[in-house]
Symmetry: C2
Subunit: 618 residues, 2 copies
């Protein structure tokens, strides 16, 4: 498959369109304002106000770059002089202060640069390259792109040709995938080769291994040559950026061994190391992948950026293989573990996305320790010290249209069924849904002989099935619709598809995820649900009725503009008020109740509340 650019796609309704709009109206401006207030903008423009502490953090360039990339996508969709002015001002700074040899980083200079693998300079460089490519593709202007080509040229010389740095590969991957974008934007094979060189050096060179960190070699994916990878290890964001680059490079270079490794790693993630929400990197220690089935809910790290990185990885595998299962994971991430990173207001963010909130742990801490921890894990915040997640969300939602469709010689693929229009010089595919859980799609195509609609994995899980106005055949998880035989070459044709039998479904997890034994989680369509205290007092004491799991009902909440679930359940009643422990059969009664579930992504948008995705059954 080949991707279809967001520039050829209009999101016209539903989840993605709503997020694109919120992102443009609220999130992108808010992230800029926070970066302005926290001096990140000045670090690049060098227009420091008087009396300002000029300390720059090593992550800041990547924050600004991702914001620039987000702005670029919006500028391609509609003019916005103010937004453009902000980006140009940042480019002015980059151009003005880029070193003569091409190096650019706000935190380091010619003296201090490239001294430690953990200084994130290649990571920041990669994000600038992505932003430069996005800005070039959006506006056709190449000033920023040229700056970044000079930087890439310098990096090629410094690392690959001269081996002048005390390390060979970045501590935080990113540049590998960015170089591939730079290659495609410029046509210069040097960038493809440099990307491949970074990939080939990883896990195979002696220079990087002795670097002493708190973490073991697999933290930075140094444990094994990439083509031999069998499992996902280490820092989840770094890992998934790397796997994204691996897959993309393998496609470009026709490297079957590397592609096979990427597929193995992906299977390891989704079958053993991914939360039901698409969250990955369960361990707070190292923000990392851990051993199989180690998926604690309350202490889940599940960084927003890690789900985004997994989304990118899955997208590359989708393009490489044409198999719908990769788009299933993209969708799971998007509707759940990614979207949960953003408040409904659009201007507050989660870094970590745990699947259970228990305020007791926080109260415990407040009670015992005088200095209350600065940040509650249950409140999204406006900016982080290391604020990688907010601009990662903005760039993803700004370019979300680019993930809906893809193509090959004779087919347009609908990977994320939602209301959207693909249009280029002579072709057009229009998808309309009911805007909710894709219960109905109407597809109109012109100048296209074949449209393939992904059959989501959640159709199968919930026992739903497609009914369509014209017959289809299935391949690789797609329903393939052919233009009716008599349709003239450039004529329009239509197909309408209805999803029948979609119901909320109770999911069990593999029993090796020990914390979830005896519990279920609910999913309706692509959306994973949770139960929050705001709707369910004493929420963490409630249980679902095992005999009536299939009676869970979806209900549209007009005020909140979302589908909620009503699940038959029980509220345990402890008959002996005086005891903490009692004979279970004598003392524990169960009062019937109805559990109200909301989308996981919507948790923590009301008052402070306990929450759980996994619900014990009785």
């Amino acid at each position: 498959m080949r991707p279809i650019s967001y520039k050829n796609v209009t999101l016209s309704g539903g989840f993605l369109a709503a997020h694109e709009s919120l992102n443009r109206r609220v999130t992108i401006p808010a992230v800029y304002d926070r970066f302005f207030e926290t001096n990140r903008i000045f670090a690049v423009t060098r227009k420091w106000p008087d009396n300002t502490d000029k300390t720059v953090h090593k992550f800041w360039d990547s924050d600004v770059a991702k914001w620039m990339e987000s702005a670029a996508y919006e500028l391609a969709k509609q003019p916005d002089p103010e937004l453009e002015r902000k980006v140009e001002e940042l480019i002015d700074g980059i151009e003005a202060y880029q070193l003569p040899d091409g190096y650019f980083n706000s935190c380091y200079d010619a003296e201090t640069r490239f001294q430690s693998r953990d200084n994130h300079e290649l990571y920041c460089a990669g994000h600038y390259m992505e932003a430069a490519v996005a800005y070039f593709e959006a506006t056709g202007r190449d000033r920023f792109l040229k700056c970044m080509c000079r930087y890439a040229d310098f990096i090629d010389e410094h690392f690959r040709v001269k081996g002048a740095a005390p390390f060979l590969t970045p501590g935080h991957e990113e540049i590998e995938l960015a170089l591939l974008r730079l290659y495609r934007a410029t046509g210069s094979r040097k960038y493809l080769d440099l990307s491949g060189w970074f990939l080939k050096m990883r896990g195979t060179n002696e220079k990087d291994l002795p670097v002493v960190t708190r973490f073991s070699p697999n933290y930075q994916q140094d444990n094994v040559p990439l083509a031999e990878l069998k499992e996902a290890t280490g820092h989840a964001v770094r890992a998934c950026y790397l796997y994204t680059a691996m897959t993309d490079y393998a496609m470009e270079a026709g490297d079957e061994a590397l592609l096979a490794a990427a597929k193995r790693v992906f299977e390891d993630i989704v079958k053993r190391k991914m939360y039901v929400t698409g969250g990955v990197g369960s361990a707070r220690e190292g923000e990392a992948f851990t051993i199989p089935y180690d998926l604690p809910n309350e202490t889940a790290y599940a960084e927003t950026c890690a789900s985004i990185a997994l989304f990118f990885f899955a997208h590359k595998l989708l393009l490489a293989t044409g198999e719908a299962k990769y788009a299933d994971v993209m969708e799971t991430c998007l509707y759940n573990g990614i979207a949960s990173g953003l408040s409904r207001s659009g201007d507050e963010f989660f870094y970590t996305n745990p699947l259970r909130f228990d305020r007791k742990a926080e109260k415990r801490y407040t009670m015992l320790v005088s200095e209350f921890p600065k940040r509650s894990l249950r409140h999204r915040v406006k900016v982080f010290r290391c604020s990688c997640c907010p601009p990662n969300l903005t760039r993803l939602f700004a370019s979300a249209g680019g993930y809906v469709f893809s193509e090959d010689e004779d087919t347009i693929y609908v990977n994320l069924p939602t209301s959207a229009v693909f249009k280029d010089a002579d072709r057009r595919v229009e998808v309309e849904t009911d805007g909710q859980e894709n219960l109905a799609l109407s597809v109109r195509a012109r100048n296209v002989r074949r449209v393939s609609i992904r059959i989501p994995e959640w159709h199968r899980i919930s026992g739903a099935y497609m009914v369509s106005s014209i017959p289809y055949r299935e391949k690789n998880g797609y329903a393939i619709f052919e233009a009716p035989a008599m349709t003239p070459e450039d004529a329009a044709w239509e197909v309408s598809i209805r999803l029948e039998g979609l119901r909320p479904v109770a999911l069990a997890s593999d029993p090796r995820v020990t914390e979830n034994v005896g519990k279920v989680a609910f999913r309706y369509g692509p959306t994973v649900y949770c139960m929050e205290e705001c709707d369910n007092p004493e929420v963490l004491s409630l249980v679902a009725d095992r005999a009536r799991l299939s009676e869970a009902e979806a209900e549209w909440n007009e005020k909140e503009q979302r589908t909620e679930l009503l699940v038959p359940g029980f509220r345990p009643v402890f008959r002996t008020e005086d005891a903490l422990y009692e004979n279970a059969s004598d003392q524990l009664a169960y009062a019937p109740t109805v559990l109200r579930l909301i989308p996981f992504r919507d948790a923590a948008n009301r008052e402070d509340a306990d929450m759980t995705v996994w619900i014990p059954v009785r």
Copy 2:
């Protein structure tokens, strides 16, 4: 009630006798040897070997003192010249190096003493006083006692009379209860008054409050005057030592308000803050009591010393009130959260006693962090840096006989039904049990008009009932047996009691303990059970059969010399090997299995294994 000294009691069989014997044969010598190897002994004797680092830790005196107290109890029971020599050598050191004004601490001198409330000097002093009283009562020799009286006199002068220290009350309570023992041993009211003074100053003086620590005032029980206490707060060992002293002082001084406060705090503990094992102090942060119902299983701190301290507290309340419910808690602690602190071999110790082991957390850590944590939480060890728990176990098991009986003017109470003989100049009560779960008792009394046998709470919970050879009436949770009417004043009489209907029972916890929702724990008699991986592969994935909880069977394991439980359960089978999450109704099957449970106190005595007390039910 008045206590009956361990000196008048012979433990003749069952749990306590076995532990007393193991303690004498293995644990007391082992603890001495470890203290010798770690220089603790030299810190007191000052017979430092050459080339030895003479750094002394501020806890060391208390470690040595508790070992001396343990040895004293054993010396009262039978001569042991080698043991006596070791104690005398330590007393030599104390006598030789006690400062002229009475101060003694191996870690501080006249210059450095009493500068910080957190230096544990009054805590160490208290433990020396307890040891001195025990040694005096065991041997009749008062050399050590006199040393400690001089020290107590100095403390009275320094703290109460002169207010010469920069603080008024100890950061770690203990001396308050020790002074009461010193008062009873010497008859000197000064020690009673000093204990009362420390108690009255706590939470009421300005001097102690501004002390800056990481922890809030309730960590050191400074938040409120003791008579106003409503809840248990802060460091659990410190708290329960304080509550023990409060209760004892209230009894001695007839302070009803203080006694009422102690009772309130006790109720707060057992109804809201105690694990089913009798563990207390659930929070690792501060080793402390937290908010009600905050009882996480895997991260439970539940320090061995805290259960011992709760045992002491409950014992004082038993004496103050005569109510059996306090002995219920003593027994729960003793058979579970205390006994679990000791390996079956008798020479290895747990500091913390979690109710669930999940090796995933440890594997996660090993995988990610180069420096593996020094100590696995799942292996008992021979000595700790702060080795308070081992000699706390030795002194408790060495004096365990002193908790079996108590008396008032006309009654001998059997508080902990076990095989034991009480004998003094003219009276004798002999209790024989079957040595297991007290399924049968035979009591023979001479020169005693009334014997009251505690009816354990677990009789009620398990639906068991007493059948006795003579009728009884119930009061305060005791079955009161009167000598048959015709029995001459000094004649022997007998009663035999059988417990009928005792069965393993599945306990539920108050649903506000959210982690235990949908789970049960098993108890058989006083013993709480757990399920360990050694007997149950994939133990943390197993569930109990809700419909057959009452079919759990007890089975004697001759090899291991313990009763084990067989519980009908299921092993979940996930039909889709390829998925981490699936439709619960389609994909999750349950294969019947039998869960084998062992006493919680016996966990972690075989190979490295996962374990859980609370088992999900289905």
